[in-house]
Symmetry: C2
Subunit: 356 residues, 2 copies
Amino acid sequence: MKLHNFNSGPSVLPQTVMEQASQAILDFNGTGLSILEIGHRTTHFQAVLDEAIASVKQLMDLGDDHDVLFLHGGATTQFMQVPMNLLDDQATAAYHINGIWGKKAATEAALFGKVTIVADSADRQNTYIQKEFSIPEAASYLHITSNNTVEGTQWHQFPETSVPLVADMSSDIFCRPANYNRFAFIYAGAQKNMGAAGVNMVVVRKDVLGKVNRRIPTIMDYQKHIAAGSLMNTPPVFAVYVSMLTLRWIIQEGGLPEMEKRNQAKANLLYQTIDSLPLFTPTVAKEDRSLMNAVFFLNDPALEPVFLDECKKEGMIGVKGYRTVGGIRVSMYNALDQSSVEAICSLMQDFARRKG
Amino acid sequence: MKLHNFNSGPSVLPQTVMEQASQAILDFNGTGLSILEIGHRTTHFQAVLDEAIASVKQLMDLGDDHDVLFLHGGATTQFMQVPMNLLDDQATAAYHINGIWGKKAATEAALFGKVTIVADSADRQNTYIQKEFSIPEAASYLHITSNNTVEGTQWHQFPETSVPLVADMSSDIFCRPANYNRFAFIYAGAQKNMGAAGVNMVVVRKDVLGKVNRRIPTIMDYQKHIAAGSLMNTPPVFAVYVSMLTLRWIIQEGGLPEMEKRNQAKANLLYQTIDSLPLFTPTVAKEDRSLMNAVFFLNDPALEPVFLDECKKEGMIGVKGYRTVGGIRVSMYNALDQSSVEAICSLMQDFARRKG
């Protein structure tokens, strides 16, 4: 049976990436060595890292002011590493919260300096993104979460700010073109649109660094990582390699414009299906619906386990909503084929006919 | 040509681990999904994590006082995470330094509290391990590096201490049996004896935690990782899986007694060869020679590039000494076959006949 992987992350990756990664574990580029046993200070790995960094710069059209790093850990590490590097003890950071991850990011920032919550969509169960808010003029930065994996909302137009703009893009990185040069800092765990779990990508505009007074542990210091060319210590070699392969795939497929086109086609089909079937209820404000994670409910809660069971029988993986939200969540990352969305939409229509 | 992988890390892994890891990327345990695209909160991954943790406990014969964690990052992360969790601002930690890594660990600790260097073998170019030293009675812990990857020394009898004993075992973890319950804290990057780069293993005796006053960022807090069963955030799934496979291999091969037997046989052969050939000079004190990393020199520095070139032609990888030390370094981790050591010893004998 063909499986449809709607996992929210770790999640579906392109088949060609899997095949190349599998092969590289047996023999990496004809070296006779596995990618798992090559040194990280070899020309072999340097070529992998160089291509990964160059691919990010190309896809995001980044200028020379921005550096790209591949670091250990996931976004949760960045929740503390960002304020450790950017927020002084007595300074203030602005956090715009639309869900669980933004809230966690703000909590970690409060360990390092002052935090002003400029918006919090908890007042409507995080089903929308607040567009009206004001940022303290002296704020060291504004932090946003570009896509809310759990709640199914996404920023479709990034806010204009005079203060440096920082974004957690873990769950929608590389899903669409945008003016990424506007951001002072972008971070993303790899395990959704960029590769396998175990590596973090960071894009940083160098001028925001070096301004805090605290002493930063070496492994947490972005400036030292930049100086070391992302090779301060042994990096997560294989995870960087899988990211490089995934980035290469995105470029070969047509880059971010093509990803956006596909993602919009998939999301349109799914949201239209939800909207057309009274059995299903979308909860997210239409204008804030995520291209990546669609969250919706069955009107009759008793039908939810029945629907989940049918999904399972049809080989549809990962459609149960997050534990704090409930309902259904369909994640449609870059590598998810249109045919998988068609499959679940068919099932929804059929289910509605039978149960509606 | 058969390659002999003497890399210092990332380094050689068992062939069966490579084959299983390669296969799991295409289809993990018959799930139809790749190990790279399964959720970390599935029963599939929980079984991997459970086996990895249970294998560590079995191999080290750990009692219930000790917990095992698999965390993001490498030992360099632990250099700061250990003092962040164990060393209060006004308290003192004792560091026993025998080389580059121990020195780096002490430098990071100084960001968090007071550091007393109880021994430093820099006085003899880190070619030995000081056994005579005294530890401040009030020290929060004594930190040692069990094996010095760069310098080629190893503790063969761990020090008796009244204060908690903390060890960086990155480069000799699981190389031999010992009373590991004596340690309050052990950490090791995976990429030598335990798996692929991108994951850290931590063994912690719970009673040493929770004693510092500072507020610890969530992702750095060992107590929170213990409470979350090593699943606080998305772990480096594939790297944990490779560690699990490697630990399974160690157990199947006969556990730590068998690893020690093999490691001693390999090291004995290599050191006997070095000692028997006047062309080569060992630098490390005999009693402190490492089972894992043998460092030695050619008497005539002009012959060094010639020897390295011959190694290369014979498919011997990773034998150039570390940049700050120079000379030759032969790393002989658990997964390195005796035949590889025999091959380089043959070459050394042949080289000595021709050039001696």
